[in-house]
């Protein structure tokens, strides 16, 4: 059984080499100022415009990939719950959901209200552009992360929290040289994490 997500041509290009990735990053770092075309020929400006549009497309595709993976993993599990968690108001995110923030952070996070605390569920790409999950629960009363830190999770989760966040082990789902990725392993890990968290929180088994 598989659950495959296609890796766009743009992202395949980005991860194919350091030259490609650094080139795109360099284009994205250009700040829009009236003088950045100083000294350029018309042909160079047109070429740069095309390159900026291309780099922007890479950024958009990256956002869409993370969002798609989030919806297919954490989102899929949460959809089976009935009212135990609710997402925070959109205003709580500030600008964290923007293209730039997602790109710069290399991750996409959604925040939920669970019991008397906050549940953060994240999808990100590691240093080798591999897909990974992360989560933590912040207790509203005690302001600690004991509930999620203390969970006993399977081997594909790192045994200990990192900065009070539980993360999947590295290089679980590499994206380099891939045209698609089977996220079924991440779906299973997301389900495991939510099930055990709810049990630990005394909310019973809510996932069918």
């Amino acid at each position: 059984m598989t659950q495959t997500i296609a890796i766009s041509d743009t992202l395949q290009f980005y991860v194919a080499s350091n030259a490609n990735a650094n080139a795109v990053d360099s284009i994205l770092s250009i700040k829009e100022q009236s003088s950045y075309t100083s000294g350029m020929t018309w042909e160079e400006i047109q070429s740069l415009n095309d390159a900026r549009m291309a780099a922007f497309k890479v950024q958009v595709d990256y956002w869409e990939l993370l969002h798609h993976v989030w919806e297919s993993t954490w989102g899929s599990v949460l959809s089976e719950l009935s009212g135990k968690v609710s997402e925070v108001d959109m205003s709580a995110y500030g600008n964290d959901r923007s293209l730039k923030a997602t790109w710069d952070n290399g991750s996409l996070t959604k925040q939920f209200v669970l019991r008397d605390g906050a549940l953060y569920l994240r999808v990100y790409t590691g240093d080798d552009f591999d897909l990974a999950l992360a989560f933590y629960f912040e207790d509203g009363e005690d302001q600690n992360y004991d509930l999620s830190n203390s969970l006993k999770l399977s081997a594909d989760w790192k045994p200990d929290a990192e900065d009070d966040e539980r993360v999947t082990r590295g290089k679980l789902l590499p994206l380099k040289k891939q045209i698609e990725v089977d996220i079924l392993p991440l779906q299973r890990l997301a389900k495991e994490a939510i099930e055990k968290l709810l049990m630990q929180a005394g909310l019973g088994s809510m996932v069918g």
């Binding site: 766009s8 290009f13 080139a23 100022q33 075309t37 100083s38 350029m40 160079e44 549009m53």
Partner: protein, 263 residues
Amino acid sequence: MSATSIVQLLDSAALSWVAELGRNSMSKVVRKSLLPVSIRLQNSQRMSAAHLSRSLPNLEINVASAIRSYFGCLSDEHAISLPRCPLGFSPTESQLTTAIAHVLKADESVDISKRRTQRFLQALLKGACYQDAYASAIEAIDKAVSLNIESEKTVSKGRRIDLLIDWELPGGAGFAVAIEAKFEHKVTSGQLPAYRQEVCNRAKNGHWALILLTVTGESNRRNKDWTALTWRTLLTRWECLLEPDERIQHHFTLLRKLLWDKL
């Protein structure tokens, strides 16, 4: 081109959803809001099919093409492909211009020095109003009777030109290029007139160029004879002008990477 023709073109470009909406509402405001910024549908503007087809690319394919086209020579030998240099500190403007002068002088070979200087000047002066006047002079550097490359050249009252390149050709024609190079700091108006005088003195027959090289490309209003150029434009051009064997000379490549990292 009629509105109907435009809608037909959009259909063929696989943007049928835009065309569908366009059929339902042909107002100028709706069409403008639906289409990419690069396409401006104005009642008085006739859009050619070729222009429209270029403005509606299959972005999945064109990303690689656009990025490679801009950089011109994107490969593992391009300086930008190197990881960020782990020096533990960020080189100053002075250190970088000194390093540029050093690689241009290329102690190991006069021929290498002349070739590197030619490439650097070609990248620097491309597109400038005096490009044509300098093109042949730069090509002739390999026959120059003298070639001087200096960094941090003191001119007056402690002021220093970041980079000064001058050369003399057989027959006595002299050329000089002064570069004020900035990364973090702003140019102060008082600096530039002093540098201009030095460059005039160096160049015989008045062939001199003044380049203000910055990250943002800002010009200096009080010194309009200085041509503004961004480091990004210089580095992109410079990389493309290098021969493959030049691109992989280690210290030279490292310097270019350090410059890219400053952007």
